[in-house]
């Protein structure tokens, strides 16, 4: 049998060899690490927070925002170093590979304000002039007058048509609840 002349042997060796390597480097370590338990005081998600996370996934926020703090000096402003337990049970976990925007692993602590997040979501340039984050105006309703139950967003006047006010939709509030929920739990000593 020679791999140069036997196509069956060639394909079998290439496929089996790769399968073994895949088990060693991918599947077995993945099985092992998915058993990690969450930290004791990691809070459960409310349905609203879960909806917000789903919207965060669908809109691809994680292509620009990591949730992955490394043990490096430059990552210190974002929180403590991320642990395997921080991602326990997450599907998918949102570590990310690009930081075109800042890390959000602990943004619920760093920026707790609901109003700030709503204005920022409506148009980031209303609060950070040189931001390049997309505006999400479709998460808001433009009304002439607010109803009693409406959450009115105090957007600077140049960002809304004259005479209109911006009101947060349930989706906008869900995204903000999700961002506010991103707080790194304490590591027990």
């Amino acid at each position: 049998m020679s791999l140069h002349t036997d196509h069956r042997a060639l394909v079998a060796v290439a496929a089996l060899g790769y399968l073994v390597l895949t088990l060693i480097i991918g599947i077995l370590p993945a099985f092992e690490i998915q058993r990690t338990k969450p930290l004791a005081d990691a809070p459960a998600r409310t349905p609203e927070v879960s909806l917000g996370r789903q919207l965060y996934l669908d809109d691809g926020c994680g292509f620009c925002h990591t949730q992955f703090v490394r043990g490096l000096d430059m990552d210190r402003p974002y929180g403590r170093e991320s642990l395997a337990a921080d991602y326990a049970g997450e599907q998918p976990p949102l570590l990310g590979t690009q930081r075109t925007g800042p890390d959000l692993a602990n943004v619920g602590i760093r920026q707790p304000s609901e109003i700030w997040h709503l204005i920022h979501l409506y148009n980031p340039r209303a609060v950070v002039p040189s931001s390049v984050m997309p505006a999400y105006p479709w998460y808001f309703l433009l009304k002439d007058e607010a109803a009693e139950s409406d959450v009115v967003v105090p957007v600077p006047p140049q960002f809304v048509p004259p005479g209109k006010i911006a009101v947060a939709s349930p989706e906008a509030l869900a995204v903000v609840r999700y961002l506010q929920s991103l707080k790194q739990p304490e590591v027990p000593r």
């Binding site: 060899g17 480097i25 993945a30 998915q34 994680g62 998918p92 075109t100 950070v128 105006p137």
Partner: protein, 464 residues
């Protein structure tokens, strides 16, 4: 000259049957359609990073179009073009007809449907979240995976029916690519081990192996045929090709975790990844060195032929991008470059400077031989220079943006300072992208000029 068409068809060399030519050309047409769509999305994404309030709409927001750009170009353009070229290579080097042109056509249909559905679902926000290159929901992935299996089986049967004793090295790479992609794709989508960080372990494996075990072996296999064929001389070293094959499989598979250095992914996985990233120099330089040495002594011929220039630039792209990748994997370099746009430059050097340039070289070099139709040399030259200048501006400016970002973060500046520092580079990147899009329009016109008509004069004469 008195032969009937039926006799003529019988006498055609393998790979030149009209039904095979039609399928191969259909692959190129589909691939080029997705190339145009995918790069338009890329251009829009580039524009939005400079003018974020341009074209504000839900289905055009950055987070939605970014995965459309990457998936359309990886699966729609690169995969379909590579597999179309591989079809010709498998048949020619096995000296036998393609086992089933019909099966190849069905697989192309599945892939086109998958890419289209992927584009539509991602547009409306139906997605598996930012899991790079596996954002498509599973039913679409099943369609795509079925196309991989059908094509792989078709090529396997073709090689099995070969009339040569030895399996030419191109077919090692091509059949290998189909085995590996099948395992890789299934591993990426099966859910049993993907809770929490298990998903991240698989993500690192998958996104790296997608490049290393699918696109790379396909294009290397094609180049092992196209370059010697176009130069009219044998490959420099057959053994070096076989060495490249096995080391590519061993080293490339083990390095995915270098995308998650400093993460809570087990330390041994990260260190293994870094070590084998250095090992990658073996397959990379044995492959690219083999191609350079094959071209050695024929530089006068290369200088006169834009198809060959495309190939040689692509080989340089391969050597450069892989060496760069090894350096990026070191922890010290990773501190400066990880999370930055430097990665975006790296991936474009790979899929554009390496893969796309070799694809274009091979299409320009081989397709006229089977259809008998050539575009004008100056039209190929225009394509080359637009792609080369545009791609270079793109890669240089976005890599510079990455370096500026990394320096700003290491210096401890506020985050927005890194955005402001990158902004001028993002404008340059858009300029490069514009030239790239223009070059793709020229390529589409050139492809049309190479379309098959009847059995070509060249072939007619060769047979007569």
């Amino acid at each position: 000259m008195t032969q009937s068409t039926a006799e003529l068809k019988q006498a055609l060399p393998p790979g030149h049957e009209p039904e095979t030519i039609r399928v191969i050309y259909a692959y190129f047409l589909a691939a080029t359609f997705w190339l145009l769509i995918g790069t338009l999305y890329g251009l829009l994404a580039a524009l939005k990073l400079y003018w974020p309030d341009f074209a504000v709409a839900e289905w055009l927001s950055f987070g939605r179009i970014r995965p459309i750009h990457t998936n359309t170009l990886l699966w729609g353009w690169s995969s379909i073009a590579l597999v179309g070229l591989a079809m010709f290579v498998v048949s020619r080097t096995s000296k036998v007809r393609l086992w089933s042109p019909r099966l190849a056509m069905i697989a192309l249909g599945l892939w086109n449907v998958a890419v289209l559905l992927g584009l539509l679902t991602l547009s409306v926000g139906i997605s598996r979240g930012p899991q790079e290159y596996r954002e498509w929901i599973w039913p679409i992935a099943v369609l795509f995976g079925a196309g991989v299996v059908l094509n792989g089986y078709n090529y396997y049967r073709t090689v099995a029916a070969r009339t040569t004793r030895e399996i030419y090295v191109s077919n090692w790479f091509i059949l290998g690519a189909f085995c590996w992609m099948t395992i890789l794709y299934a591993t990426a989508y099966l859910p049993f081990y993907q809770g929490g960080l298990g998903n991240t372990v698989i993500q690192g494996y998958y996104m790296h192996n997608g490049v290393g075990m699918w696109f790379t072996p396909l294009i290397l296999g094609i180049t092992y045929y196209a370059l010697p064929r176009m130069l009219g001389k044998p490959i420099y070293s057959y053994a070096l090709g076989v060495l490249g094959f096995w080391t590519n499989m061993l080293f490339y598979t083990l390095i995915g975790a270098h995308h998650f250095i400093f993460s809570p992914v087990p330390w041994w996985l990260q260190t293994t990844a870094i070590l084998f990233s250095v090992g990658m120099m073996v397959p990379v330089w044995s492959g690219s060195g083999n191609f350079f040495l094959t071209a050695h002594g024929s530089w006068a011929q290369v200088r006169r032929s834009y198809p060959l220039i495309f190939i040689l630039v692509g080989v340089w792209g391969y050597a450069l991008v892989s060496t760069q990748g090894t350096i990026e994997a070191f922890r010290t370099a990773n501190v400066y470059w990880h999370f930055t746009n430097f990665t975006v430059g790296h991936s474009h050097l790979a899929m554009y400077g390496f893969v796309a340039f070799l694809v274009w070289g091979a299409i320009y070099g081989l397709l006229p031989r089977i259809t008998g139709q050539s575009p004008s040399p100056s039209a190929i030259a225009i394509h080359f220079w637009l792609s080369f200048v545009g791609g270079s501006i793109y890669v240089l400016s976005i890599s510079a943006a990455g370096i500026l970002q990394g320096m700003s973060w290491v210096a401890g500046e506020s985050f927005i300072a890194s955005v402001e520092a990158s902004a001028p580079m993002w404008l340059w990147r858009t300029v490069g992208g514009l030239l790239m899009v223009a070059s793709h329009v020229v390529f589409a016109m050139n492809l049309w000029a190479m379309r098959p008509r009847e059995i070509s004069h060249e072939v007619r004469e060769a047979v007569a």
